[in-house]
């Protein structure tokens, strides 16, 4: 059964350092966006790929962009570098990206990220202003609409501070 929150908590439990980005980050900030996948930004070192495997091993992770749906538990083999990962799991789709258009890489995102607490676990989420930049950089109709919604959320946050 689909459960993006459980997916994120499993990644956190595995000790993977990541920043939640994309549509589900927009949902976390308060958007009505509905997305079919969870996007995270992380550094894909061999150690982090091993942590991802450990985290997802019970949920049949496969590379969803490969016609044969190769198992993530077997590919890429140890020592082979990887840039981005698009995985299908029993809990939903998860994309692991090494950089975000319009903003930058993990270090850049992590420096400004907001920390949210869910069931006692800290999850780092792309800063609202960075997410607006990322959505505008994507430039697709639906991303621009989400950016407008996120700008409204930013305005409401500002108003709440006063």
């Amino acid at each position: 059964m689909l459960n993006f929150g459980q997916l994120l908590q499993r990644l956190t439990d595995a000790g993977l350092e990541f920043v939640l980005v994309g549509g589900f980050a927009a949902v976390s900030h308060g958007s009505f966006n509905v997305t079919r996948d969870v996007d995270i930004c992380a550094v894909l070192t061999e150690e982090n790929v091993a942590k991802l495997r450990q985290a997802l091993k019970d949920w049949n992770p496969t590379h969803r962009m490969t016609p044969q749906k190769l198992s993530f538990l077997l590919y890429p083999p140890a020592g082979e570098s990887v840039n981005n990962l698009c995985l299908q799991t029993d809990k939903g789709m998860v994309n692991i990206l090494t950089s975000i258009k319009g903003v930058g890489d993990f270090q850049r995102l992590n420096a400004a990220a907001e920390e949210i607490l869910v069931d006692g676990q800290k999850i780092r989420v792309i800063a609202l202003n960075d997410l607006i930049k990322a959505k505008e950089a994507m430039g697709r109709e639906r991303d621009l609409m989400t950016a407008k919604e996120l700008r409204a959320i930013a305005a409401k946050r500002e108003a709440a501070k006063k």
């Binding site: 059964m1 689909l2 459960n3 993006f4 929150g5 589900f24 949902v27 976390s28 308060g30 958007s31 009505f32 966006n33 509905v34 997305t35 079919r36 949210i116 869910v118 069931d119 202003n129 607006i132 609409m145 407008k148 919604e149 700008r151 409204a152 959320i153 930013a154 305005a155 409401k156 500002e158 108003a159």
Partner: protein, 65 residues
């Protein structure tokens, strides 16, 4: 980042329901996630139902073919 009043006006003009946005912002992150997953589950079920219906509507090859 923006002029807040202008951002709200642009959102309103784009058709974003600001009252619903307020209701969403009043939820915890966990509640937003749960709400999202429930909506997505329903959307996927409807999509599946539509595909099943469309498959039934497709003409099948006759025995003479």
């Amino acid at each position: 980042m923006d002029n807040p009043a202008q951002a709200l006006e642009e959102a309103r003009r784009a058709g974003i329901d600001l009252d619903l946005l307020d209701a969403n912002l009043a939820l915890s992150v966990k509640e937003r996630w749960q709400q999202h997953d429930a909506v997505l589950e329903l959307a996927l079920k409807l999509e599946q139902a539509g595909q099943t219906r469309d498959a039934k509507l497709r003409p099948t090859a006759s025995k003479a073919d």
